[in-house]
């Protein structure tokens, strides 16, 4: 434990164990077998199902135990690390983190930029690592029961192991590039697991959609990384933050003292701030680009479409990947690159988060598939987290990430129990009254519903997981709404030793060009008085980069309103499933609980209850201070925030009572009342719009998917076949024509004609000369004499001599050549 490299080694080992499990299962998984008697014992439990053919699947159940053991080891290591980390003093921690950074092996050089494979050792990593391993272990255990009898049992756990490896790798990565690598790997695991039952077209479609939509987000991530690479000359998380701050300082965006950018080797860092594209600085574009990755992975607007479809995967996958861990990776990414955000980028994040949380909650109101309700609630909660980061509630957002992971895992596993118990029935219209048949599931589900609703007793400060985290996000939003600027005018506030409390203090004026766009927000940060900018903050900040000023009131109003909607749709889900009269006799009669599956449920429900403890926020608090050179990170309990907290109970303190109560009134007996309400035309129209998910899928499928597949791609294909190959083929044909022309006209008639002519003449001459060989000496003498004469004349004049020679020869020869002309015929 004294070795500073110990924790880092534990984390690495924890990442690698699932990888070994993956490799082992990939090669051996389907061949693992138990002795026969075991199969008899467990067989037939769930086997009478169309989806699960009789008999155990390949590698069942050993493959499951191998994978579970692997993640179990990671969990133990995570516990050791947590214990070790929180047993350390601040100095030791810094030492360990520094050791981890220093000993990171060089992976490769991209040009002159080294990429190290480092372990990012801080509280956030430790806590995330623990959360991921704990959730994963529970869900692995649950899956052994859930996947019973599936023919591809081993493959399921193979991918689950690969997922655990990738997710844990993502959590410990100290470099943006490694974050990206593991990011894509969790994406591909998600692809395989969504499409796990790939015989179904809908499942393989959903997998495809998830991957491609994520790639769209990753496209932005790649651009963000590219800008980072160009201007900051590093991809290491620590270095990027320092160089970004140095660049901001140099460009005059920030007046806090610090190391110069030249010292840090970031020669081009200031250009990030001075170069603009479409009136927005490259720094903001970089932040938005990196955030695009989160938009994809955390399914934020406008890339939210893949997550509901991802529910085609087995339910444990939905719980693990599409609720607890992977989709939260987007939030994790934003938290990690928080230091690279500008106020503009931060506002963009807040807006996106707000849109997502509102839209998803509204759609969740009308869903009838139990998993889809949960999917939309996940979207909405992720929206809260992203919104939280957008308003600067760094700790609160991550706090919500943790609590959400546990209660959402409970909800999904509970729904998995329900689905298995009802023989793969997911439609709530055919459920109802299941509480008596499935008491454990129902009660844990209820706990989680209360948690997501933010249930608690406001004045006592007692509550379930969601109570604290959501509350705090709203409190910060409230604070930013009212105190975005005023906070800094309090002198005591600006002078607060920030130590993780208030990083943003105010913005001072900075002249750039002297025109309307002349003011850039400038941080008068840590410990520096913001007195010079005491007055007129709103106007100045508004005049900063592209008019980002105060938090618009709607960004505060919507999250508050949705805090009332959340308990309503969750209550609706619970009441429709567990209360009321059974709406489908057949489903109800056979409903049952598998005892093997509720142990993980109980563990997670327990975590849900205790994760609300305020202790947690202190656990991640020390990762926060470094978080923000340029943007506000409000992470503390300063007076103003306390005031906000005090105001909140009146606003949302009883939202869960209102929401759940209303849901109870309408849905406790099933759909009867809601059907009546739906007669109202306004409600009906709203219902149609929500039922169609605001038509995003329609538009995307038509415009993007089919547009690219069947229009753009086909145009390119035709262009290739007709135009380019047309040119190639036609020029070939033209060449052929030309050659044929030259062949027939020039060659056959011209060149060949000439050749033939020569041959003809030669033959005929041959015949001629042969005919001259008459054997009559007199003729020979005559010829010889003529030849001599010709030669003599040639000496005087060559042409004349030749002509004389030929004519004379002709005169002599012709009379003798009266025989059949053999030559020309033979030549032919």
């Amino acid at each position: 434990m004294d070795d500073p490299g110990f924790l880092q080694s534990c984390l690495l080992a924890g990442v690698l164990v699932p990888l070994f499990s993956f490799v082992y299962l990939a090669f051996r998984g389907s061949k693992l077998k138990l002795a026969r008697r075991e199969e008899d014992e467990h067989g037939g439990n769930d086997a009478h199902d169309a989806h699960h053919p009789t008999g155990p699947g390949q590698g069942e159940p050993i493959a499951g135990w191998v994978a579970t053991a692997a993640i179990g080891i990671s969990l133990i290591l995570a516990i050791i690390v947590t214990y070790g980390w929180y047993g350390m003093g601040a100095l030791q921690r810094a030492d360990a983190a520094e050791h981890a950074a220093r000993t990171a092996p060089l992976w490769t050089m991209v040009g002159s930029v080294p990429i190290h494979f480092g372990v990012k050792l801080d509280s956030l990593t430790v806590i995330m690592f623990l959360m991921v391993t704990l959730c994963s272990t529970c869900i692995h255990l649950f899956s052994i029961g859930y996947m019973k009898g599936d023919p591809r049992f081993a493959r399921f756990f193979t991918f689950l192991s690969l997922f655990c490896f990738s997710m844990l790798g993502l959590v410990i990565s100290a470099s943006l590039l490694f974050l990206y690598i593991f990011w894509e790997l969790v994406g591909v695991c998600s692809y395989f697991l969504i499409g796990f039952w790939f015989e179904k077209k809908s499942a393989s479609d959903a997998g495809l959609k998830a991957f491609v939509v994520n790639r769209v987000g990753d496209f932005g991530f790649m651009i963000g990384m590219g800008l980072c690479f160009v201007y900051l000359q590093t991809l290491s998380l620590d270095d990027t933050a320092a160089r970004f701050a140095a660049g901001a300082r140099e460009a005059g965006w920030m007046s806090a003292p610090g190391e110069a950018f030249q010292m840090l080797g970031a020669q081009r860092a200031p250009e990030l701030f001075t170069t603009q594209f479409l009136g927005i600085s490259l720094a903001t574009w970089m932040g938005i680009g990196l955030f695009c990755g989160a938009i994809g992975k955390s399914a934020q607007f406008p890339l939210q479409v893949w997550l509901p479809d991802a529910m085609e995967g087995p339910t444990p996958v939905s719980a693990l990947i599409h609720a607890a861990t992977m989709v939260a990776a987007g939030v994790y990414l934003v938290a990690r690159v928080f230091a690279l955000l500008t106020p503009g980028a931060q506002m963009f994040i807040a807006v996106i988060g707000c849109i997502t949380l509102t839209m998803a909650a509204l759609i969740a109101l009308v869903q009838t598939d139990i998993k889809r309700v949960l999917a939309y609630s996940t979207l909405s909660q992720l929206g809260y987290m992203i919104f939280g980061l957008g308003v600067g509630a760094w700790i609160a957002a991550l706090f919500h990430l943790m609590t959400h992971a546990f209660f959402k895992a409970v909800l999904f596993l509970g729904s998995g129990q329900v689905i298995i118990g009802c023989h793969h029935e997911q439609d709530m219209r055919r459920m109802g009254g299941l509480l008596r048949k499935m008491p454990v599931t129902g009660l844990t589900f209820l706990v989680a519903v209360l948690a997501i609703s933010g249930a608690g007793i406001p004045w006592l400060g007692i509550g379930l997981g969601g109570y604290y985290s959501k509350d705090e996000i709203l409190a910060v939003a409230y604070y930013r709404q009212h105190n975005w600027t005023a906070a800094a005018t309090h002198d005591e506030h600006a002078a607060l030793p920030t130590g993780g409390q208030i990083v943003l203090a105010g913005y001072a004026q900075h002249d750039q060009e002297g025109a309307a766009e002349s003011q850039a927000p400038v941080l008068a940060g840590a410990g520096q008085s913001a007195a010079e900018g005491e007055t007129d903050y709103v106007a100045r900040y508004a005049a900063g980069e592209h008019g980002v000023g105060t938090l618009p009131w709607i960004l505060f109003f919507l999250p508050i309103a949705i805090a009332y909607v959340t308990p309503f749709y969750m209550g609706r889900c619970f009441f429709l499933t567990f209360l009321g009269k059974p709406r489908d006799k057949h489903v109800h009669e056979h409903a049952h609980e598998s005892p093997t599956m509720y142990v993980p449920l109980l563990i997670l429900a327990f975590m849900t209850v205790i994760s609300g403890s305020f202790l947690f926020r202190d656990y991640v608090a020390d990762s926060a201070p470094t978080a923000a050179p340029l943007v506000a990170a409000i992470n503390g309990h300063d007076h103003a925030l306390h005031a906000a907290h005090a105001a909140l109970p009146t606003l949302v303190g009883f939202a869960f009572v209102v929401g759940l109560g209303l849901a109870w009134l309408i849905y406790r007996r099933g759909f009867d009342i809601s059907e009546k309400i739906r007669v109202l035309p306004v409600i009906r129209q709203a219902h149609t719009v929500l039922w169609n998910k605001f038509y995003f899928d329609h538009v995307y499928n038509t415009v993007f998917r089919d547009g690219v597949r069947y229009v753009l791609a086909v145009i390119c294909r035709l262009f290739d076949n007709w135009i380019i190959d047309g040119i190639v083929d036609n020029s070939a044909r033209l060449t052929e024509r030309i050659s044929r022309f030259s062949g027939v006209v020039l060659d056959n008639m011209g060149v060949d004609g000439l050749v033939n002519l020569v041959g003809y003449i030669a033959w005929n001459l041959g015949g001629l000369f042969r005919s001259m060989q008459t054997g009559i000496v007199r003729n020979y003498i005559l010829l010889a004499a003529l030849a001599v004469a010709g030669l003599i004349i040639s000496l005087w004049n060559v042409p004349v001599g030749v002509i004389v020679f030929v004519i004379a020869a002709g005169i002599i020869v012709i009379p003798w050549s009266r025989r059949p002309a053999v030559a020309s015929e033979r030549y032919r």
């Binding site: 991209v110 393989s204 491609v212 990753d218």
Partner: protein, 527 residues
């Protein structure tokens, strides 16, 4: 390096010896074994080429340009007018990985030809193997030649066997495809010939040389070639020469709009020939650009960078879109090659360290993943005797081992991190982003963005293909199909392992051998 070595000569000509040897045998088994043996020997010999990189004589980051290993110079043709051609071979960071890739892929292609008897054109195994081995000699010769004239000869030597391999053992439109391939390549090599002779005859008599390294490093020659006042038919010499060479190599890469021979050639060629075509022949274009255009004509390279970048981006996007619209499995893979090779050109055009590394890496990565994909197509073609994507389905259920290997291969091609395709793409994209004012300038970031967008399309067409071919319900017409045989797994496994190794250890497996040479080319060009 002063010492001379005949190792490369052995590597290059061993296949020819084998080819001649097998002419004396008639049993098809014997012929195959001899052929395989004589592809394994050069592969093993070529592994020895790593030696200078491990014993430290090449330095930490690989040797610079002009630092040649295993060099051998034998005077060959010498005429009175000073026309001097040497048999001059050697390797450096540019050629070494490609030589090893060539011997490896040819060996696997030979093994992939094992089921020759079941092909439609089952006759003439002897001729086929002879030409295959001759082709290997030609390809290796191209990569190891350090004499332009010798290079040109090998370039032509390689052309003819390929023509016959497609034209005799190909599919239904083999004549068309073979002729198209032949004419395109020949047209390119004629332009190259002009450039070669110009390089030779432009300098004063004392400086005339075919030595490629000297052409690039001799200051007098460099000054002459890159001087804007040196004219050729009234145009700037360097630009004209660059364009002539570029067209010659672009046809090989292939670059839009000279690419249409490739899909036809692939579709008609038998599987092993497709593997060689995609794995090795396409790399000759990129290799030629690295070997001739950038070191010898850096000024033209800078001048034309944006133009090359545009072509690279077009290749990426256009190739991907064309791939998406194909119904023929093999054509899809062929167009994906075009798309992937776009990253090579873009990375080069950027003229940055990362860009060059990316281009080189992408060449090797594509040389691994694309033969793998072609062989995967071949495996199913052998069984189904058709390649229509829409008629397949559920093959992962029918053939689980094959399905898993196919997923690996196609994800490598898709550019999934930890597999080889990713590294090349990410290097090329980053390299494009950082491209300075001398090369892409203001276009650097837009080009980088477009190249990154190509990755979305790549994911789109590959996953759509996987969905239609491997996923879905098992189809009755394919139920009886046997899973990948041992031979097929043996062919696929080395490529699969290399795809993973290159993806996880890019530095150790490749970049440390090439970076020094590439950086040196860059510094020669003064960027």
């Amino acid at each position: 390096m002063n010492e001379t070595s005949s190792l490369l000569t052995w590597v290059v000509f061993t296949p020819t010896i084998g080819g001649v040897l097998l002419l004396f045998f008639n049993r098809s088994d014997t012929i195959k074994r001899i052929a395989l043996m004589f592809t394994i020997i050069p592969f093993l010999l070529s592994l020895y080429l790593f030696q200078p990189y491990f014993d430290g004589s090449a330095g930490a980051a690989g040797a610079g340009y002009g630092r040649v290993f295993f060099e051998q110079i034998v005077p060959w043709i010498s005429t009175v007018g000073g026309f001097e051609v040497n048999y001059h071979v050697g390797i450096d960071g540019l050629s070494m990985p490609l030589v090893v890739l060539t011997t490896l892929i040819t060996m696997l292609a030979c093994l992939a030809s094992w089921n020759f008897e079941s092909w439609k054109a089952k006759r003439g195994l002897k001729g086929y193997m002879f030409l295959l081995l001759l082709l290997e000699t030609g390809m290796l010769g191209v990569f190891v030649s350090l004499d332009f004239f010798l290079f040109y000869i090998f370039w032509e030597v390689m052309l003819l066997p390929m023509y016959f391999l497609i034209g005799v053992w190909g599919g239904p439109r083999k004549e068309y495809a073979a002729i198209k391939f032949f004419i395109f390549t020949l047209a390119g090599s004629v332009l190259m010939l002009v450039a070669m002779l110009a390089f030779y005859f432009y300098p004063p008599v004392a400086d005339r040389t075919f030595n490629i390294i000297r052409l690039a490093t001799d200051p007098a020659l460099q000054a002459l070639f890159n001087d804007p006042n040196t004219l050729f038919l009234g145009f700037k010499f360097s630009t004209i020469m660059f364009v002539l060479l570029f067209i010659g190599f672009a046809i090989k890469i292939p670059i839009f709009p000279f690419h249409t021979w490739l899909p036809d050639a692939h579709v008609e060629a038998p599987t092993p020939i497709s593997m060689i075509l995609a794995g090795v022949l396409l790399k000759m274009g990129g290799y030629g650009l690295f070997r001739f255009c950038y070191p010898i004509l850096p000024e033209a390279a800078k001048y034309l960078a944006v133009f090359l970048g545009v072509l690279g981006v077009i290749n990426i996007i256009y190739g991907a879109l064309c791939a998406m619209a194909q119904d023929d499995f093999k054509k899809l893979v062929a167009y994906s090659s075009i798309s992937h090779m776009g990253y090579v050109l873009l990375g080069m055009a950027a003229m940055t360290q990362a860009g060059f590394q990316g281009a080189m890496f992408q060449m090797i990565a594509h040389g691994i993943s694309s033969p793998m994909c072609f062989f995967l197509v071949g495996v199913i073609y052998d069984r189904a005797h058709h390649r229509e994507i829409n008629r397949f389905g559920g093959l992962w259920l029918t053939m689980p081992v094959y399905g898993s290997l196919a997923t690996l291969g196609f994800f490598a091609s898709l550019g999934l991190p930890t597999l080889c395709g990713f590294i090349g793409e990410v290097y090329a994209i980053f390299g494009t982003f950082v491209s300075g004012p001398q090369a892409l300038g203001a276009y650097a970031i837009p080009f980088g963005i477009l190249a990154a967008a190509g990755a979305i399309l790549t994911a789109g067409y590959i996953l759509w293909m996987i969905q239609r071919v491997y996923l879905g319900k098992e189809r009755p017409e394919y139920t009886g199909y046997s899973d990948a045989s041992l031979r097929e797994v043996v062919v696929l496994a080395p490529m699969g392992i290399l795809a993973v190794a290159l993806g996880i250890f890019p530095m150790q497996t490749l970049l440390k051998f090439v970076t020094g040479t590439l950086n040196n080319i860059l510094s020669l060009s003064g960027v």
